[in-house]
């Protein structure tokens, strides 16, 4: 099981509270982008293309904490940019952990080993290391040689010091499912707690526009890659979301499930699309025209999207909608079958 029981219980309690309160829309994960600068320029990334004066800016610890308080989501995913380039990233993580938020600090791990001293292990803190596949695929994806080896060494160092470590893999057209299965074996052997996988989103600012997966291709890739999963594999994701990626289930997007806060404010409507910014979380939730997003809306930018930030909340929500779905989720978590 890739998600610790305590974390699952905390999320379940939170969801139950939202349902009892009769809330239609509520966040599950806060996507916090405290900065846009990065020490890599990956082929499929559209997050970091800003003038240098914007790249130099970052959110303060107070701004990050206040965004988390405003949002109230039990999980905070710190993305970017490369969060470890933030001069106060450890303070941010510490402050959020102090508020009992489950923090996933997403990093390419280039700086991880030398920054480990600044953090303290906690059941609330996990380093989510960007690993897009085996050595050659990962280095190709991040466009730099040697990054896979650096990340593997950093994962070993973090695990040795008692930190929670997960991986996150973004997949593109041309991914070899068999090699990915080998990669899952390698990561589990390394000792990571769980893995996350998702197809890449076709950012219009990303340099490579040719290798984003279309929906049908995503289904085929994930069905081959995750079919007959090994018992040793642990995914830090909802099994229903993985089944969705494999084409076994269909969900509509929940764009408000993973709201995004960055230097510009609360991003409308989601982590991937930039249609504007709200000044407050409430304004984001109440004044965004959500009917314009998701597959059913006909929005062309949503048609091929199967990214976790929109569909993982749908999958988690679905698991709580019926005893059968809940039983299926629990069974899948226990047996590892998808």
């Amino acid at each position: 099981m890739g998600i610790p029981a305590g974390q699952m219980m905390a999320v379940a309690r939170y969801l139950l509270k939202q349902r009892l309160a009769g809330r239609e829309r509520y966040p599950l994960v806060l996507m916090l982008e405290p900065l846009f600068r990065c020490n890599l320029s990956c082929t499929g990334c559209g997050k970091i293309q800003y003038p240098v004066q914007i790249l130099r800016k970052h959110l303060s610890v107070e701004e990050c904490v206040s965004a988390s308080d405003e949002c109230g989501a039990p999980i905070v995913s710190i993305a970017g940019g490369e969060p470890l380039m933030h001069p106060q990233i450890a303070d941010i993580a510490r402050a959020l952990v102090g508020r009992r938020r489950y923090v996933y600090l997403c990093t390419n791990a280039i700086l991880l080993e030398r920054k480990l001293d600044e953090f303290e292990p906690s059941r609330y803190l996990s380093f989510s290391v960007h690993m897009d596949g085996p050595r050659s695929e990962h280095d190709h994806s991040v466009c730099r040689e040697g990054v896979y080896d650096v990340a593997v060494n950093a994962i070993r160092a973090a695990l040795a010091r008692g930190f929670r470590v997960t991986t996150n893999s973004t997949l593109f057209e041309g991914t070899d499912p068999e090699r990915m299965r080998g990669f899952f074996d390698d990561m589990m052997e390394l000792g990571v707690e769980g893995m996350m996988v998702s197809p890449g989103y076709s950012y219009d600012k990303a340099p490579d526009q040719e290798h984003f997966l279309r929906r049908e291709r995503s289904h085929r890739l994930f069905a081959r890659m995750l079919g007959s999963p090994k018992r040793s594999w642990s995914f830090n994701q909802s099994p229903l979301f993985l089944q969705f990626l494999m084409g076994k289930r269909d969900f509509e997007c929940t764009p408000w499930g993973n709201p995004t806060y960055n230097l510009f404010g609360w991003q409308r409507p989601c982590y991937l699309l930039q249609d504007g910014y709200a000044r407050t979380f409430r304004e984001l939730m109440e004044e965004t025209d959500w009917s314009k997003y998701g597959r059913k809306s006909g929005n062309p930018r949503c048609q091929d999207c199967m990214v976790h930030c929109g569909f993982e909340p749908s999958a988690v929500r679905a698991a709580f909608e019926s005893p059968k779905a809940m039983a299926g989720t629990v069974a899948s978590l226990v047996t590892g079958r998808l």
């Binding site: 320029s41 240098v52 130099r56 730099r144 910014y277």
Partner: protein, 333 residues
């Protein structure tokens, strides 16, 4: 331009990953990064990316896409290296590198305290460290006529500012007036011109304060009397200090741009007490001794303290603007 034309430009500006220049209906221009737009307004960061501004669409006459498009640049870089991986030691994306510090060099503790107040930071062991407009700033008291090379070697700055008090050589200058050096000249007549980009940006941001630009004469010893100062006055020379030439020389040799910003503490017709000629870090005890000389000495000291306070306040007001100037000059580079 028609309303529809402006609306189209606004959409393009919102999608653009670079700076734009807005021309307003009153003819004024505003450079910024557009990050949002509403039915009747545009939200942007100013040129330094430190202030958020909201501009009504009705005020906009035109939008020019004047800054480099970071998305296109990223695309071009990727196409150039297509298939090839970056070497392991490639610097961060977007040309972003950890920016170097701004080193502010002063002579005495009192000048350092003025800089520290501007930085809102304490003075510890002859230095104060803080930030101005997102720039890391280190202020160091190097002593009167001190050697700036050690501080340059220790801090590896990206800009050096010679800062502190000066004597007036121009009769029009009063205590607390600022002098931004166009050049510095030493006692032998050797002259260094201030690098233009930071100086012009500094001059623009200091507009509104009592500030003149001109040559700064760097004497070998304190010019305490009006006669000594008149002897140094030359066409274009506006003020005299002891350190700015050495600072500019050291910065130039290290390939670092520099500025000299001084506040007048003793105008042309004012004399400094004799103890001011001594090279000291602090003047509390000499001043107390001097005060014992009689009421006239006390009156001199009161005037000097008042002038020093004005000069300190002027520096305190000017330094935050210099931080802004630095960001602007680098944005334009």
């Amino acid at each position: 331009m028609t309303e529809a034309g402006i609306a189209e430009l606004v959409d393009r500006a919102f999608d653009y990953r670079g700076y734009v220049t807005l021309r307003r209906n009153d003819g004024s221009e505003l450079v910024g990064f557009v990050y949002d737009r509403g039915a009747g307004h545009l939200d942007l960061f100013d040129e330094t990316a430190t202030q958020r501004l909201r501009v009504p669409l009705a005020d906009i006459a035109d939008i020019a896409f004047t800054g480099e498009d970071a998305a296109r640049k990223s695309q071009e870089m990727w196409e150039r290296r297509k298939g090839k991986l970056e070497p392991r030691d490639t610097p961060a994306h977007g040309g972003w590198v950890q920016p170097g510090k701004v080193l502010v060099l002063v002579a005495i503790e009192q000048e350092l305290r003025s800089v520290a107040r501007a930085l809102r930071s304490p003075v510890l062991r002859g230095a104060s460290r803080g930030r101005l407009c997102g720039n890391e700033v280190v202020a160091v008291a190097m002593g009167m006529a001190g050697d700036p090379r050690r501080a340059l070697a220790d801090e590896l700055p990206r800009l050096v500012v010679s800062c502190g008090f000066a004597g007036g050589l121009d009769a029009a200058l009063a205590a607390g007036d600022l002098v931004l050096a166009t050049a510095v000249r030493n006692a032998d007549g050797a002259t260094l011109r201030a690098p233009e980009t930071p100086r012009l940006a500094a001059a623009a941001t200091l507009r509104g304060l009592r500030c003149v630009q001109g040559e700064l004469v760097c004497a070998a010893a304190v010019a305490a009397s009006p006669e000594e100062k008149r002897a140094l006055a030359a066409p274009g020379a506006v003020a005299v200090d002891l350190e700015s030439y050495a600072v500019a020389r050291a910065a130039t040799d290290a390939g670092v741009p520099w500025l000299a910003l001084r506040a007048i503490v003793d105008p042309l017709d004012t004399a400094l007490p004799p103890f001011a000629r001594e090279a000291r870090r602090d003047y509390v005890w000499p001043a107390l001794r001097y005060a014992c000389a009689g009421p006239r000495a006390v009156s001199d000291l009161v005037r000097l303290a008042r002038n020093a306070s004005r000069a300190g306040a002027a520096l305190e007001a000017a330094l935050p603007r210099l931080g802004r100037a630095l960001v602007i000059s680098e944005a334009r580079r």
